[in-house]
Symmetry: C2
Subunit: 344 residues, 2 copies
DNA sequence: TGTTAGCACTCTCTTATAATGAGTGCTAAA
DNA sequence: TTTAGCACTCATTATAAGAGAGTGCTAACA
């Protein structure tokens, strides 16, 4: 069977209607609301065809039709018109990036908040994936006689810090010296390359403090390992209650449980992906828990290096055109802001 | 009317039953399940009295009775027996504090998780309130030619770091010198005392870099101001769905919305309070949003200085005795751990 | 005088049944 | 090929009837 232009028109009408109403769409509704110049009976026939082709589904015999994931995919790829963001909304976003926030985590967190505010969906964002970033500088900062702070500064200004215990009788100058040694050996390595650093070479420089050296290496490795597991930021978690499909307490609960599984969310966002906006619809998601959600994600970059991903998550009946335009704008705005802050 | 021992017995039976079943308790149930040696008719009379005295409420004429907030208060103050924590649970908690976590935020976060795990309520925790803590050390760590990291280390090992822009042509040695100057002037001040620092005295030491000095002061003040607004950590946010009183989507929603209001939660936890466990029941809470919840909080300390608060929040029909014993144990365990880590 | 059995009454919750209405698929005519 | 007409399906809503839990009151009892 061929998907002629009339079928497409009808499909589009049904999708549009369903996105707005969340109610199964009947032939009469299509005939009345979307004046296609054909009768409901004709539409009925076409709808029957569309169902056979897998674009529509019927909750039960005497209900209207609901778009399938396949239909949404077609819609996203061919049918929808992505309008660029309205001026008001663009201004709203810009405003947030004008209060020079300098802490990266704060930036990402704010981005998530803004996203959920303007889309009314739940938003997710991950901080830069350090594996793609190089180490710039390592510095031990004395805290008191017993502790020092190990600060790792990366090429994109992102840092991790850990408190470590230092042996007695070590002074600030010595810590500076150690910092120098570590920096020298780790500088310009990416986080995934650190295994290649020749530890024995560093070891030789720690003449008498072998024990301290060992604990330092432990902390460093641990810090590197832990840094792989990045923080996930959420915005508008309770927005899900706005959607009629989540009035059911069980569904709402399982959605919110999903949001608590930070590891899973991280996996979803961190999966290697090309630059730009990506839409993942319902069953297209690999994760069982997401089979009736859609996710629209966008990457953000520093210069031309992709650093991380932001996204919104909602029911498959999502306002894709709007979501895509917001995500597109937001990804670019964030990249621009980061590049401006930290340089390319 | 007098609250004689029989009335207390009946009230206790009703509260116990209601805490378990969440169903209004009838006179027959009390007579059958709690063998008090009196008939349901007598109990009925007593219940009628208890209602008149404000300890019981009736959802509707032909339903059983439900304890009022006043009854819970009486229960908490006089009736309930707080058993000390079971060995298993105590071990479970101890285990978490055995993996030497050194980052304070991580500790508090983990504490919240453990709390919600073992109580099945939603838990809240706030990180130490810095206003009660003194500044130990200020250090500028170079990041690249353009940026440096300003690290503030406090007496309890807690730190705040901010990225700041540095003027061109400034090297590491100079940053070290600046760090020294700042440390010298701010050391041993509490965060609320920083206004008393004589800025002009420092200014004199920055001979040629007045502009840098100004931006430094800006960042410092900002950082101090921001540090007043502490992070709130949550655990088990979806636990609320376990309770029949939150099967209603509207109630669940408003509860979850409450949890998103970090400022409000902070306010609740940060309100000055004595050391130890505190129970706040339903309408006793000042916040409108909490009028049908109860909160059990405990403080944690470093040495003998109260640093912050942890708590669990649930329906007024809460297992107070258990909640109190868990919170008591947890607050002490956390204090002990912190003291061990950072000294008194 | 306090306690208890008995009973009518109230009110919610459950279940059964009927009515409504949106929507479909099929048929036959245009 | 399109469309009007109509019988049929099925979820949803409305209505009614019971069932059940619990109370308050009364009167008898120790």
């Amino acid at each position: 069977m061929k998907l002629d232009s009339r079928k497409l028109q009808i499909l589009q009408a049904i999708i549009n209607d369903y996105i707005i109403t969340a109610e199964p769409v009947g032939s009469r509704t299509v005939a009345r609301k979307y004046e296609l110049g054909i009768s409901s009976a004709t539409i009925r026939n076409e709808m029957s065809d569309l169902e056979e082709m897998g674009f529509l589904e019927q909750p039960h015999t005497s209900a209207g039709r609901v778009p399938s994931d396949k239909a949404y995919r077609l819609y996203v790829d061919r049918l929808m018109q992505v309008k660029s963001l309205g001026e008001q909304e663009a201004d709203y976003i810009k405003e947030f990036y004008e209060h020079k926030i300098l802490q990266l985590e704060q930036i990402i967190f704010t981005t998530a908040k803004v996203l959920s505010d303007i889309t009314n969906y739940t938003s997710i964002a991950i901080a830069p994936q350090l594996s793609r970033v190089t180490i710039g500088h390592i510095q031990l900062v004395p805290v008191d006689r017993e502790f020092a702070l190990l600060v790792i500064v990366t090429s994109s200004g992102i840092l991790k810090d850990t408190l470590i215990q230092i042996p007695q009788g070590i002074n600030g100058d010595f810590l500076n010296k150690v910092s120098g040694i570590l920096t020298e050996h780790f500088q310009n390595k990416t986080f995934s390359e650190i295994d290649m650093v020749d530890l024995s070479a560093i070891k030789r420089e720690f003449l008498e403090n072998q024990k301290f050296f060992n604990s330092l290496v432990d902390v460093l490795t641990d810090s590197f390992r832990r840094s792989q597991k990045q923080e996930v930021y959420l915005g508008g978690t309770t927005n899900i209650f706005n959607f009629p499909e989540y009035q059911d307490i069980l569904r709402a609960r399982s959605f919110l449980n999903l949001l608590e599984e930070k590891d899973l969310l991280y996996q979803i966002l961190a999966s290697p992906q090309d630059e730009g906006v990506k839409v993942s619809i319902g069953t297209e998601n690999l994760q069982e828990e997401l089979r009736d959600c859609s996710i629209v994600t966008a990457t953000y970059s520093l210069g031309n290096r992709v650093l991380g991903t932001i996204g919104v998550i909602g029911p498959t009946r999502m306002e894709y055109s709007r979501a895509v335009s917001v995500m597109d704008y937001m990804g670019k705005a964030l990249s621009r802001y980061l590049t401006q802050l930290y340089g390319a």
